[in-house]
């Protein structure tokens, strides 16, 4: 049965159903069984599945990632959770040297079915070390898969697929998506890795967007519609493997491309997507592709500076207007009472 639930609840359900289905699935992370339950995504699971399968852990990200890898080698299916991507950086050695290579470097003899959940923070002064969106690093590494769901439906289906996958999957969530609601079936279902989602059909321009930026892209599309411009939105969902086929197909139809990423501009996934599209559909492009991404600087903490740091729908819409030869002044951001450093008025901090 379908009903409306939040993104965070969808993640919780995915873990819950996976654990019920497969006794080799277990989840660990700092604070997993604590009263906040990773923003609700792990709440109630320990009561259901016990302390061995739903566990807190020592403050030792790299070591515990190795522990997860080792347990995967002997038949377990670990899920590791980091409250912020920034903490997972301590585990890069195990993720990149070991988890990503293990299958290949032993000639395919062993698998590492591991899901590493990371959360990108934003706003409320998260600052330089609670907000980094470094999906392009992970997407650069052969052997890793990288997933970034936007909707509650995809959050559940992609997390289930990631847990079922026999490879290390970096599952990146965005803090500003936790509160959004959407239609989600109650049952166990998969959303395949490596497939983009057409979030909105259109004919004049393709916006390929990552994670939270898909919401901004949807808002931008509404703004553009008032000027008679029809945008197609591709929610990339899976950065590795990247579904360039769906993006290229869309660009062949619209002739224009803007990529909206939650990460930094230079060396980001937007560059890779644009490279793939220009390699495969150069002659169909009516104008140079555009990129909407974070400026190449660390995240400022002050709410005032974060207003200038994070691109929004208006920036996507303006860049598309320019692309189409319109004056970007033709479009105005709708005034709202929501401050720039929170996703919605219910968000009261602290992280």
């Amino acid at each position: 049965m379908d009903r409306e639930i939040k993104y965070s609840q969808a993640l919780n359900e995915a873990v819950d159903l996976s654990m019920a289905k497969d006794p080799s699935v277990y989840i660990m992370g700092l604070g997993v069984p604590d009263p906040k339950g990773i923003f609700g995504t792990t709440s109630g699971l320990q009561q259901k599945y016990g302390v061995n399968r739903v566990m807190d852990m020592p403050c030792a990200e790299n070591g515990m990632t190795g522990v997860a890898i080792g347990s995967a080698l002997v038949g377990m299916r670990p899920i590791m959770t980091h409250q912020r991507t920034d903490f997972a950086l301590l585990a890069l050695e195990q993720l990149v040297n070991q988890a990503a290579n293990w299958h290949y470097m032993f000639g395919g003899k062993m698998n590492v079915p591991l899901v590493v959940r990371m959360i990108v923070g934003r706003g409320w002064g998260q600052g330089p070390q609670h907000s980094q969106s470094i999906q392009s690093w992970f997407a650069h590494i052969p052997g890793l898969k990288v997933v970034m769901p936007t909707t509650p439906y995809d959050a559940k289906g992609l997390l289930i697929s990631s847990i079922e996958d026999n490879n290390p999957v970096i599952f990146i969530e965005h803090r500003w998506l936790y509160n959004i609601s959407g239609t989600v079936p109650e049952e166990y279902y998969q959303v395949p890795l490596g497939k983009a989602r057409i979030a909105k059909e259109g004919k004049d321009v393709t916006i390929a967007s990552v994670s939270y930026m898909t919401l901004e892209a949807m808002r931008a599309a509404e703004m553009l519609a008032t000027k008679g411009i029809s945008a197609e939105i591709i929610d990339i969902r899976s950065l590795k493997p990247l579904d360039s086929e769906t993006i290229v197909k869309s660009v062949k139809k619209t002739g224009r491309l803007v990529v909206a990423d939650t990460g930094w501009l230079s060396g980001g996934i937007s560059a890779e997507i644009i490279a793939k599209v220009t390699e495969q559909a150069f002659s169909q492009l009516k104008c140079p592709p555009g990129r909407i991404a974070l400026p190449d600087g660390p995240t400022p903490t002050s709410q005032e500076l974060s207003k200038y740091y994070y691109p929004r729908a208006i920036h996507i819409a303006s860049s598309i207007l320019k692309m189409l030869g319109h004056s970007p002044e033709n479009i105005k951001e709708t005034e709202t009472n929501i401050p720039f450093d929170v996703p919605d008025t219910t968000f009261k901090g602290p992280f």
């Binding site: 852990m57 515990m64 522990v67 050695e93 299958h103 000639g107």
Partner: protein, 324 residues
């Protein structure tokens, strides 16, 4: 001392076999056909042999960059190891790993990797996995003295101690990390076994050139771990005879003295077993010579297999990046 003759014979056979295999690798290395780094265990065989002889086939072992001895002592296939070093399709890792990435799942050798300390948490993880599943395997993690300087070493031991995991940590202290002696890496007078005790893990040290002593200590440790009484840390002092990486002696470089090397060589782990067998009339010289001859024919056959095996094909380059 009550010596178990069969055990001693077995230890000798395994140590001698590893010695002869590695000497063969050293001899053939200059042919430039083994085109990957090799870190030889010559001089350190007693630890691998003593520890692995105390294990059951289904027990797990994870190694490091210097793991030929660990792999062979655990029963890893010789032909597959040599073929791997030669970069062949028939190698234990299909030619994708080389000397530093050995594996033989049929005997529980789960893999080796050269990033110092990096397989220690993975070994703790296999022990964690088996304990979650209720299996009774023990895992052994082999590493060198420098691994105890890495942060992840402490993270791993802490968790093993916390969960009382069935894992044996075996530290092979050969006094040097590449060319850097212990004196520039760890404070004088501080012993790693004391630190490990502080983490809450039983921690012992022994003579790393005495295979029988290693075996007896390992046997006790394995028993404890298998019975669910938690991990054990064993530190064994030993000495690497050849250069850190490669087939040669390198005492001419000056980072260690010829005299130090000679002192250690007097306590050759293979020879110590040899003498003991003779003294106790367990084996005679002739039987030992026959044993060596048999091993050498096995090695020759394995070398031929490795050399004659085909290389992996181009189509295999991007195979096995992802599991299906």
């Amino acid at each position: 001392m009550n010596i178990n003759f069969e055990v001693l014979k077995e230890l000798y056979y395994r140590a001698l076999r590893i010695r002869l295999i590695e000497e063969k690798i050293a001899d053939l290395y200059s042919d430039q056909e083994m085109r990957c780094p090799v870190h030889l265990s010559i001089g350190q065989e007693a630890i691998a042999v003593g520890v692995c002889s105390a294990l059951m086939v289904q027990d797990y072992v994870l190694g490091n960059h210097r793991s030929h001895a660990h792999y062979l002592a655990k029963g890893g296939n010789l032909k597959a190891m040599l073929a791997e070093i030669y970069g062949k399709k028939t190698g234990c890792s299909g030619g994708k790993g080389g000397s530093m990435h050995l594996v033989d799942l049929s005997v529980g050798f789960l893999g080796s990797a050269p990033i110092v300390s990096s397989t220690i948490p993975i070994a703790v993880g296999t022990a964690f996995g088996t304990s979650l599943k209720g299996d009774n395997q023990v895992t052994v993690s082999f590493f060198g003295d420098a691994a105890t300087e890495e942060g992840v070493f402490y993270e791993s031991l802490n968790f093993a101690s916390l969960k009382k995991l069935p894992v044996i940590f075996v530290c092979e202290n050969n006094l040097y990390s590449v060319y850097s002696p212990l004196s520039v890496r760890q404070p004088e007078g501080r012993n790693i076994v004391d630190i490990v005790r502080g983490i809450g893990i039983e921690s012992l040290e022994g003579d790393g050139n005495d295979a029988l002593q290693v075996y007896e200590m390992a046997e006790q440790a394995v028993k404890k771990a298998r019975n669910g009484n938690g991990p054990v840390f064993l530190k064994f002092d030993t000495y690497r005879w050849r250069e850190h990486c490669g087939p040669n002696y390198d005492n001419d470089l000056g980072y260690r003295t010829q005299a130090e090397f000679q002192e250690w060589k007097k306590r050759d782990p293979v020879n110590l077993l040899d003498v003991r067998l003779l003294e106790n009339n367990i084996l005679g010289r002739l039987e030992m010579d026959i044993m060596a001859e048999t091993i050498n024919s096995e090695i020759d056959e394995a070398v031929i297999f490795a050399k004659q095996s085909p290389f992996p094909e181009e189509s295999m380059l991007l195979e096995d990046i992802y599991a299906s």
